[in-house]
């Protein structure tokens, strides 16, 4: 086991402007003091409330945003800022699959251009697969061939290269984003809702492939998803996020079989069931957990105005941490 990325006390604040003159009057604490270590070859699930800061962590990690404070290291090198990342060609090793597949693809470029872009910047690795650090080629023939290979992996035909993003369905665009992220053989992929627009069979293809490249090349994933079934299948460890803070961290089993934080419990109770007959039962259970949440939330959050700030994480086992008022467990 080796440490690939270490995130320490990360904070990302965005200014809020308001009033007539759009003056900065406050901050959104999108990420509020979060730490996480990513090991080589493992998948980390990042799950939580919509708007809780998951994409923001992803953006800082790939270098699209600078943190307000905190420290990020990659294979021991400090890469906190965008500048530090650029200096070591960091994006050859760390790529992102974006949540908004449409807006992340340049509408005026063909799919071929979009996928070859990272190959032109960082070269075509000798073979497909994460972390391959051998020779890289910049020859156009090699680039073209690799683009076709990548398309094939995500189940899109060769004719795709000459087409434009608007000519594809939501799920097809998402697959193009996956192909682009795989192009440079990264060691870490931040996958932000990589399969949310896919039907179950194509989803299965993409997930099987992600597992395969992980097995073959020891790639790591930060896997952001709202689909808890997929998260359970894909991840080794999970961090649960609410209002910019981690409320619970543990192994996948810790979270699914032994959830401790009231927010985690509420989330798990809301997973829709495939059993049509249980509709009413499920609704009643959700209502019950919701009442419990309201009743006990003060044990788990500091109330600051209308804002609920989770307590710091306390260890309850070697792998399992929960944000709870000190002395509660």
């Amino acid at each position: 086991m080796s440490e690939l990325v270490k995130i320490e006390n990360l904070k990302v604040y965005y200014p809020i402007k308001s009033g007539f003159f759009d003056r900065v009057t406050d901050n959104v604490k999108a990420v509020d003091d979060v730490s996480l270590t990513i090991e080589t070859g493992k998948t980390y699930g990042l799950v939580g409330e919509s708007g809780s800061g998951k994409t923001t962590i992803g953006k800082v990690l790939v270098g699209l945003e600078n943190p307000t404070s905190g420290k990020i290291s990659f294979e021991g090198q400090v890469v906190t800022t965008i500048k530090q990342k650029k200096a070591i060609n960091y994006n050859k090793d760390v790529q992102m699959i974006f949540q908004d597949s449409q807006s992340s693809l340049n509408p005026r470029k063909t799919i071929g251009d979009i996928i070859s872009e990272p190959l032109r910047s960082f070269g075509v690795p000798g073979k497909i697969g994460a972390g391959y650090d051998g020779q890289r080629s910049f020859e156009q023939d090699k680039i073209n061939a690799r683009v076709l290979e990548l398309l094939d992996i995500v189940g899109l035909p060769a004719r795709t290269v000459t087409q434009y993003p608007f000519q594809f369905s939501g799920g097809q665009r998402q697959r193009i984003g996956v192909a682009r992220a795989l192009a440079t053989n990264p060691k870490l992929i931040v996958a932000d809702e990589p399969v949310s627009a896919l039907d179950l069979s194509v989803q299965a293809q993409v997930l099987n492939f992600m597992k395969k490249i992980q097995r073959d090349y020891n790639i790591s994933f930060l896997f952001i998803s709202h689909d808890l079934g997929v998260v359970r299948y894909m991840t080794d460890n999970i961090a649960i996020m609410h209002n910019g803070r981690f409320v619970e961290i543990g192994t996948t089993e810790d979270i699914f079989d032994n959830a401790k934080h009231i927010f985690t419990k509420r989330l798990l109770s809301a997973i829709p069931s495939l059993d049509v007959k249980k509709r009413e039962e499920n609704r009643a259970e959700r209502k019950r957990v919701e009442r419990e949440f309201v009743q006990y939330k003060n044990d788990y959050y500091q109330q600051i105005g209308s804002y609920m700030r989770a307590y710091d994480l306390e260890s309850i086992s070697e792998t399992h941490f929960v944000a709870i008022k000190k002395g509660e467990n």
């Binding site: 809020i16 919509s50 809780s52 039907d199 179950l200 069979s201 079934g229 989330l267 829709p272 959700r286």
Partner: protein
Amino acid sequence: MNEKILDSKNVSVSFRINGELQTALHKISVSIKRGEVLALVGESGSGKSTLAMSIMGLHNAEQTEVTGSITLDGHELIGLTERQFDQYRGVRVGMIFQDPLSSLNPLMKIGEQISEAIVVHDKNAPNLKGHVQRLLTDVGIINPKRVAQQYPHELSGGMRQRVMIAIALSNEPDLIIADEPTTALDATIQAQILDLIKEIQLKKNAGILLITHDLGVVAETADTVAVMYAGQIVEQADVEELFANPKHPYTRSLLRADPSNVSPGEELYAISGTVPALKDMDHSKDLFLQRIPWLSDDVVNATIDEELEVVGDNHFVRGNAWKTFEFLDVTEKGHAK
């Protein structure tokens, strides 16, 4: 009570690609009654959004050909001018788009965009600000005041999706088209949004077209399910029947690919191959059969009935192959019945 709010017959849509018209939807007929939730599921790229965009009249007229008939409450929609469509869009039909970012104006504050949607319906709407904040609160936005002041790029994916839902529902439409409405939402807020949609449906006795890949959402909300593959409906049934008794091999494969019961060490079940290119789709055949390696050529290439076959109360299936084979697994050799 049981009147059809939406009735579409033989809707076909072709896109102009490299100068030539290629068919993405082939003779789709679906109807939605008032009070009904019809879920549309199916292969990525099978034409679900294309159907939704046809109902909304949003295809680029020069690049797209739409034929057949779509009626809303008895009024024909195909062939309407832009101005005529404006009477329906956002007023009687509310649409939640699959891609929130591209349907929101990047240069306009969220609050202004929602106000605009309300004013389309009611020019003299009182207390607009209060109304906007109430709508945002309804979709689970915790600080509506702040969000009303922000621009789309300053919101998270799920917050944008909820803003769009607020806009689509703002005028309490008679028909709600929801194209993957909850993909960016956590389970708790997803449940809350689905409840909200149901509430508005109840109030207006509205019909809902729900497009989704999430079979859990289907099981919890739909009355009827239509399954699409390569531009056609391959199976349609009441929700309970469809989950209990799927017939078409595509439907059966789709249900099998669900990851929730697969242990992490195992591979997920996936159908091999890909959908044919639009120009290679011969809709007189059961196109899914090409994906099943062990079927003989004459079964794959057989011409089939244009109409779906009635196999039970409100249960329809396309093609014939399901009568002969079990299709427990389309990737490996199947059993004859």
